[in-house]
């Protein structure tokens, strides 16, 4: 079964890329709808929403094409984003929310867990290859 050369897109990475792809579409589409329908309501929150979408797009692409440095940097940005936005945003601001609001509460906290899994995955791949002759 494991005849693939190790890469960020195989094994657990196959699942990760799909989850990142879902969030890329969900976050970007959400932000575009928010900005298109009433941008004046919460321009900062909606711009952050769009930024989170872009971060997911880059992470999906980097993981799918085995670009590990880009993936690492993007996932660190993602983790910082969800921690900072989660700590500042008010959970009642549903209308102004981004996917990172309240640590991703509206998405089953997946936005909080996802970067941790991503970093662990990159670390494990690196370790596995360092151990291999």
């Amino acid at each position: 079964m494991s005849d693939h050369t190790p890469s960020t897109r195989h094994g657990l990475g196959r699942v990760l890329v799909f989850v990142y792809g879902l969030f890329a579409v969900a976050a970007t589409a959400r932000a575009l709808v928010q900005l298109a329908t009433d941008a004046s309501k919460a321009p900062v929150a909606y711009s952050l929403s769009l930024f989170s979408g872009l971060v997911y797009i880059v992470a999906t692409w980097a993981l799918a094409t085995d670009r590990r440095t880009v993936a690492m940097v993007t996932i660190l940005v993602e983790l910082t984003g969800v921690l900072v936005i989660g700590s500042f945003s008010h959970p009642d601001d549903i209308d102004k929310a981004s996917v990172w609001s309240d640590y991703g509460n509206g998405y089953g906290y997946v936005p909080l867990v996802l970067p941790l899994v991503g970093l662990w995955w990159l670390w494990r791949l690196g370790r596995r290859e360092a151990d291999a002759p």
Binding site: H10, R14, V15, F18, L22, A26, R30, V33, T37
Partner: protein
Amino acid sequence: MTILQIVLGAICVVVAVWLVVLIVLDRLPGDLLYGVLAVIEIGLVGQLVIGLTRVFGDHGDLNVAAYVGYLVGSLLVLPIAFVWSAGERTRSGTAVLLVGVIAVAFLFLRLQQLWSYR
């Protein structure tokens, strides 16, 4: 929630459990499972039609853009999951289908939320 969404949601739960069993046993999905996924997809087309009828009717203060976005978006999940999982015929590929089915079930809840908060 419409009856169609309840039925489809229940099918999604059954398929999710089924996929977990396949992943645990390290077995690959067969034609029957793919058939059920196709049934869910057809149901989602039905949901789109019902949803659009609602949007064109009296929909109160509904967030139309988001509602239609979810309706159309839900159609894309399973086909993409199917193609992406076919690229790796292992447990991981099966897990992609599991994530897809869970995502579709989640979208039913979001659609229901949007409709009830209108």
